[in-house]
Assembly symmetry: C2
Homo-oligomer: 220 residues x 2
């Protein structure tokens, strides 16, 4: 069979290795030897290791951003004539459906989610800057819809809860392999990412709609 070309062989190998070990812990030599390409190929095609990392993300996120923008267009259109806002359930359903639809090849979803988690937790300031610059507007659009979906929530409360839930997703998915191993050992159940996302959606909905905490008793 014809091997895919050098660039995609590097990307394929790099994304898996990055997801397994993190960025700093994965050397170019490990990548290139496993991908059966020359060491210098990375610097030739991508320029630097940083650019390679960004390219790995772009290959996932670019199609996702397009799909998600389109899905949000459709969603807003459906609720345009009714004067209602897009309900929270529908918004989350659209998000998860778009995320789950993207790959269809390999177990790329797991890899992608793990990479997202690493993007937050690893240092890699250049990566955060890159993601903010490339996909910041998409995030803004989503949060605006979220705002309209939960109008009864005070601004700050929604802000904190959003990041609370964001943290959950990133944390769970970035540590997925380890957690799944534990779950399999303890409960003998091997769950797919699809199913996990599906099962956690009501948890997010309920959490966003939780009652506001009573004012805290003053201390000190």
């Amino acid at each position: 069979m014809a091997q895919p070309d050098t660039v995609t062989r590097i990307l394929d190998t790099a994304e898996v290795l990055f997801a397994e070990r993190g960025f700093a812990e994965t050397s170019l030599r490990t990548i290139t030897s496993k991908a059966k390409v020359n060491l210098a190929a990375v610097n030739y095609h991508f320029g630097s290791k940083k650019s390679l990392i960004q390219a790995v993300f772009a290959r996932y996120l670019d199609p996702f951003a397009v799909s998600f923008h389109a899905a949000l267009d459709a969603l807003e259109a459906r609720y345009r004539d009714t004067s209602d806002a897009v309900p929270l359930e529908a918004l989350l359903e659209t998000l998860t459906r778009t995320v789950l639809e993207i790959p269809a090849e390999r177990d790329s979803l797991k890899v992608f989610m793990r990479l997202l988690g690493l993007a937050y937790s690893q240092a890699q300031g250049h990566l955060r800057r890159y993601l903010q610059q490339e996909y910041g507007d998409l995030f803004t659009r989503f949060t605006e819809l979220l705002r309209r979906a939960t109008p009864e929530l005070p601004e700050t409360e929604r802000f904190w809860r959003l990041h609370f839930m964001l943290g959950s997703v990133i944390f769970i998915l970035s540590g997925l392999d380890a957690l799944r191993d534990i779950a399999e050992k303890d409960f003998g159940e091997r769950v797919s990412v699809r199913e996990l996302v599906h099962r956690l959606r009501p948890v997010v909905v309920e959490a966003m709609n939780a009652p506001i905490a009573p004012p805290m008793p003053a201390s000190t």
Copy 2:
């Protein structure tokens, strides 16, 4: 003023740097030069970089484990005669109270939470093994109480929700500074860690008690 001794100077510096950049991204030379100690001091006092990382965690977790065990003793005693299980709210209240009581020095809580997050997300297999070995029993005790507090939840569902919530807390508190800055800029509200934890508790309770998702439509 008398400088603290070499060992604690190393620990103080290392924990901050680790929290800022991660473990692999922080070199011993950065630590020792910032701590104003000799490079070889780390290997002399701790043996290796791995052992230093573990020591940073032990300095936080050892006192916490003692306090939390004691707090759980008291909590169980209070509910011993009543045949009821410890309610979820009380369990979470005990946990957050213990966490908040420990430090009182530096802004160590924030740093500690960030380290905990890194411990999960970074490779560092030795660290996970160490934490499991040293504090596994405390975690087991807590999850057992959690199990009794949510008897209607299937085992695996509780497992995943627990880690879901764990992720939230770690994520929020580890990125606290950045998030708080945004919140202050956007909403003009500066919230304390205490208050944040207080306000997020009902979110956790509600999330744990969320309805089970309906079975997922089969695909491929």
